[in-house]
């Protein structure tokens, strides 16, 4: 099976990362893992993934959120400027967007991600959503 795209999974739950790997690899994706935001940002620079699957509540409550903010920073001198177009999929235990009440002050652009999904996500739905993001004509 040809390698379709590189997907970076940033989640502190090793078992879930393993599950995603099983699902994604069987659909031909290449999987890179990171267990926290800091490692995730390093892997972004190192591997330039095509899509990032991001958890919100890791060791630090808002870590996933800050990864998204760092990557999508509007500042022109951001060291992540060349990565700001990488699609980000939030896959979180937090049920509703308004559960992020701790970061409400940021305003309308408080969650700069492409799609927000809840855990647990059925494997079929996960693949469908990834394909929709990576190939809009899919």
């Amino acid at each position: 099976m040809p390698v379709k795209n590189k997907i970076l999974i940033i989640d502190d739950n090793a078992d879930l990362r393993e599950n995603y790997r099983t699902i994604l690899e069987s659909h031909g994706f290449k999987v890179i893992e990171a267990e926290n935001g800091v490692e995730g940002l390093q892997k972004v620079k190192q591997d330039t993934p095509d899509l990032i699957i991001l958890d919100v509540m890791m060791n630090d409550l808002t870590e996933g959120f800050h990864v998204a903010q760092t990557l999508r920073s509007k500042s022109t001198d951001s060291e992540y400027n060349e990565y700001k177009n990488i699609p980000i999929m939030i896959l979180s235990s937090i049920h509703k967007k308004y559960d992020f009440h701790f970061d409400r002050d940021v305003g309308t652009e408080w969650l700069p991600v492409d799609i927000f999904l809840n855990k647990p996500l059925e494997p079929d739905v996960l693949i469908k959503k990834i394909n929709e993001i990576l190939n809009p004509e899919y």
Binding site: L16, N19, I23, H95, K97, Y98, K119, P120, L121, E122
Partner: protein
Amino acid sequence: MEKLEKQFQKHVKWLIHIRWGWIVFVSLAIITFHQIFSIDLPILQLIILLFVLGIYNLTFVLLMRKLTFKKFEKFASLLIRSQLFIDFLLLALFLHYTGGIENPIAIYFIFHVIMSSFLLNKNYAYQHTIFGVLLFISIALLEYFSVIPHYPVFDYTQNPLFTNTFYVICVLLAFSSALFFATFMGTTISGEIKRKDKILEKANKVLQEQDKIKSEYVLMISHDLHEPIATVQNCIQIVLDGYCGNCDPGVTQTLKRATKWTDKMIHLIRDLASLSNLNVMVSINLEPLCINKTITNILKDFDQQTSQKSINLKYKKSSRNTWIAADKEIFSHILTNLISNAIKYTPENGTIGIDLSGHKTKVLLEIWDTGIGIPAKYQEKVFQDFFRTPDAIKYEKDGTGLGLSIVKLGLSLHNAKIKIKSPHDKLPKLHTGTSFILEFPAIKEIE
């Protein structure tokens, strides 16, 4: 601010009602004494006074309708005080034209000072009493020294009471002391009430704080519980979907049973998290939202569920303004919960209707169904956490009993109201059905 406004409006309305009552009372008294007891009264002056009182009262009625509290917030206390002073002045004039010191209607001065003791602070209440005493003394003395005319009502004898020095002194002393005593009693009681009010308010605040802490705790716990159960669910799903090779049919069946329970637990944890989260929120970011469009989008998510049960989902849009101030996510959650419930408790081939209607000051959203209905005795209770009606439990075993609590809490953050009608008038008598009517304050249409 809101409390002050309500209190102010209540007080002004109260004074307006008392004045209307007073006008009726005095008119009846004049007719009775003049017509039945043939007592000679200065009718013209009394009618002018009643007329002035009526116009003055009407001014306040109109003022309360036209002006918003914000406009006269700064002089709200002054407005109440001046009303009480003008009322006192008019009462004194009534007294003067109906026998002065001889008229027992002077007792009404006492009611007046009691009223001011409750409406004003202690200093202002005493000022008001001093003003009343001075008014009464002035009338009595001016009539005594014939500076102003006396209008005899009760006494036609050679030695009228208003010129009887001993009587005048006694009445003035008794009257003044009674007024000050009434003020003392009134301010003491009202001070005690205000003190207890403050204690209650403080206790209420502490309870609210504690409730918030409890909700934050439940929120944290529910997040912590969600991650492990979601992982378990994900593991089972991977096996069921064949990512780990083919399974024995017995294993598949057992795993399906397991997911039924993990599903149930995930729903419960999610509802608990949402409920606690809404509880923790003091205010939300309300933004203009045209719900006509939002509803259309939400309804798309229900296509599969309604077609599975062959339910006819009808949406009646409104041609008028349906803009409200809302948090889109919370609004969607509210509507999703109500439609999910309607689908859950409506038998196959039933109908669910969403009727939206825009009005001048409000937007009404009605979600009705041809389902099992909610008996009248449970219509209040269904908004309590974890409550499910016996019929609902019998009809649909699964359910957290938190859906409508979330709806109610979400609506309260939007200053919106909810009403239940079951059975409702959209159905023939044979059906039961439930109708939830949501009322949101309307905002100006945005192009």
